[in-house]
Amino acid sequence: MEIGLKILVPLIEISVVLGIVLFHVAYITYFERKILSHMQDRLGPMEVGPHGLLQPIADGLKLFFKEDIIPAGADKIIFSIAPIIVLVPALIGFAVIPFAKESITIFGLTFKPFITDINIGILYIFAFASIGAYGVILGGWASNSKYALLGGLRAGAQMVSYELALGLSIIGVLLLSQSLSMVQIVEAQNRIWFVLLQPVAFVIYVICAVAETNRLPFDMPEAESELVAGFFTEYSGMRFSFFFLAEYANMILVSCIAAILFLGGWHAPFKFLEFIPPTIWFILKVYFILFFFIWIRGTLPRVRYDQLMKFGWKVMIPLSLANIIVTSIVLYIVRG
């Protein structure tokens, strides 16, 4: 009985978190389309359900029933597993994201507001996120198409270089919170959010996050005006939707991390606003960052591939290194 419960509770937690995440992944596509449409003087999806609210479901069903085409010249095994290699790391990161503070008790069972709180939470996420790059490169390579290959190569180079800056940008936060555990990082922001203490790091993080998730203005790997669809040009049906889901899951993941590391996680911005449940605050913050992502997609042109690499190596990485040094010195002086 004890053992059964020990297995049952995490299983329920996992399925709830996965369910919620996938629901949001589906609906972030809807929000993106709606927000972009309204920015662009049009309505966006309106047909399926009221104001097109059921559009993501219709899209999902459509993709599910589409013919699954594997090009004749493709490497079949790698072509098939590449989407999985991309999607799994994107979802697995949510295991350590804390959505709230207090546990919930239902029917005598205690559910934590996160799947697990390992003491290297943030490292765990980054470690898995890097695996996603393999999927992209493999997918591009296995398609046996020049467009996909170029897209895959671009993606590989881009993700590797921006992961560096991304990793370096959060070290300031880690120095402040003195922990790698997501829960403890949030709790360390009880009094003041790290975005106020680490504004440079926040900016670097957001820029790198955009690049890391391959979104405009850094959507080189799938620049549709140049490479048709980049690394997933040859994909169709479910496999295509795996890449698609992964992209949006990654977007939510990096937004969650930003909310946790810089925007105080589930904390309310002011004391008198604490009557609003912490989970709502967390979701609001995540959606604020997601909105920002969509907003810049509606505004900015795409940079060129070599400009992107130059920007990553010559601006972002030196800046984040400088941020680490300054933070360390200040902390040394303040904390003695």
């Binding site: 972009l36 920015m39 662009q40 003087d41 049009r42 020049k146 467009y147 170029l150 405009l216 203005p217 959507d219 620049a223 549709e224 005006s225 140049e226 490479l227 048709v228 997609r297 509606g298 505004t299 900015l300 042109p301 795409r302 940079v303 060129r304 591939y305 070599d306 400009q307």
Partner: protein
Amino acid sequence: MAIPDAGAIMERFPGAAHENSSGGLDVIIVPKDKIPGIAEFLKNDPSQNYNFLSDITCVDYLNMRASLGAFYNPSGGGLRPIPGHPERRERFEIIYNLYSIPRGCRVFLKVYIDDKDLELESVTGVWKGADWFEREVYDMFGIKFKNHPDLRRILMPSAWKGHPLRKDYPIGGEEVVFTANKDTIDPQEVDIKELSIGDDEIYAALMLNLGGGTRLSTIKGDEPIRMDSGERRIILNLGPQHPSTHGLLRLVLDLDGERIKKVMPIIGYLHTGIEKNCEQLTYQKALTLTDRVDYLTPLSNNLAYCLAVEKLMDIDIPLRAQYARVILCELSRIASHLVYLAAQGLDVGVMSLFFYCFNERELIQDIFEYISGVRMMTSYINIGGLRYDLQEGFKEKVTAFIDRFSSKIDEFEELLTNNPIWIKRAKGIGMLSPEDAINYSVSGPSLRASGVNWDVRKAAPYSCYDHFDFTVPLGEKGDVFDRYVVRIEEMRQSLSIIRQALAALPDGPCRSQDRKILTPPKKELARSMEAVIHHFLISSAGFPVPKGEAYSSIESPRGEVGYYVVSDGSGKPYRVRIRGASFANLQAISRVSEGFMIADLIAIIGSFDPVLGEVDR
């Protein structure tokens, strides 16, 4: 108007003759062997300075001679001489259309070519832009240009039999080779020498992908060509189905990583034989085809065609129609530049701009629909004026639009002009020097972005453009950014022209009252037999146009659009040659994009704003 120094040419090149044609063209008839020499002289001699090759085309006089009593003798001897022109026995007439940008004058060289000896010296050594023009003449008439670097078919599939614009080419029943049916159609042998081009690798890549009935095996026995050159590079096929080639344009890229070593444009996917079709229709009906040439600015093409026919018929156009034509053409210039801006934005990833621009363009289309009942292919500008008078309320609608658009244009500019990412993407990319631009026959905003001040509206005002006050915006470097700035500024100038023309729009008829071209009014039909006959003739056989030839060029949003119309005196044009601005402009793409990256190439294509309908016709 005679060219000032025709005497100098005839003195230098004995055998050349000067002739004023009925349509008011300045023509110099040049002996066949003298053409490269005279071309060189006309281009480089400071007193001539014909630096811009506007067009090269050809007319097949087979039928015209027949209708004049001469007949074609296939067993040799060419054509019987035409009465009154004893010297002309040759079947083909090649026409070189030269323009001097510094002097602002135009001259036509004519070379007569006989059926038996279809070879002519190429002028690609004098003007780079001659390349595609000569290829088209070869493709359509089968005239071979000696020393041409790459004489292949350009619009028709490479395995096509015959030369469609020849008068004895059978019409109808051709089996068109597509990828789907190429196995059922007997693949025709392709002459290797005819197809051979400079770079073997690209050639091979090209042939590998070529669907049109050409088999790789036809190149070298049954051995497929291998592409091991030891170099590490990618041959990438971009288009014809690609999101950002602006239509059915195909480019074969030779890449070193993502850097472009060579670009080879392949066109003809949208070739619909408009020039040939025009010959089968009456002048009035052929007008509707000109809409389809450049589908982003149909009215400009209407105008260019009408101007040529009106020159032949010598009709006076009422002032109201002239002003209305200016307003309409400038509106469609704005509409076309909006599509350019939208597409250029999309090319570099600014999706929002695309929708903003199309919103505004929609309003212009609404105006067109309001006055003509049709949104795009209006055929509203007609021979003799406009098809019918402007609708009541036209002025108010246009005024409302220009008032709204003047502020919108600043908003659009805000999105791009000072955007650091756009500046990085556009400045210093795809530079075209003024010399190259002229040499490649580039015209329009793309030419002016390089700093060459040539706008047909200013240089040879048509349709009362000289009544209006406007400036011609110029660029400096000729890069993607300059081409963008020039077009934005042109929209502002267009607004100013529209404003002036609206204020001065006179009352009166909107079409010439010449009963030769007008169908009789309804009330006469009930009473007069002559009116019924006249009505019937105009509707079926068309109104006759006096024999002769005329050329008219206008400044379309993409550059010089010219119509060369030859009439044999009947109700149908004998030959309509369309000088598409995009066709010439597109040649320069391979020149300017070498050494840049794929992403730049996309921006460069967009910056030339090609319309493939106009390229392929």
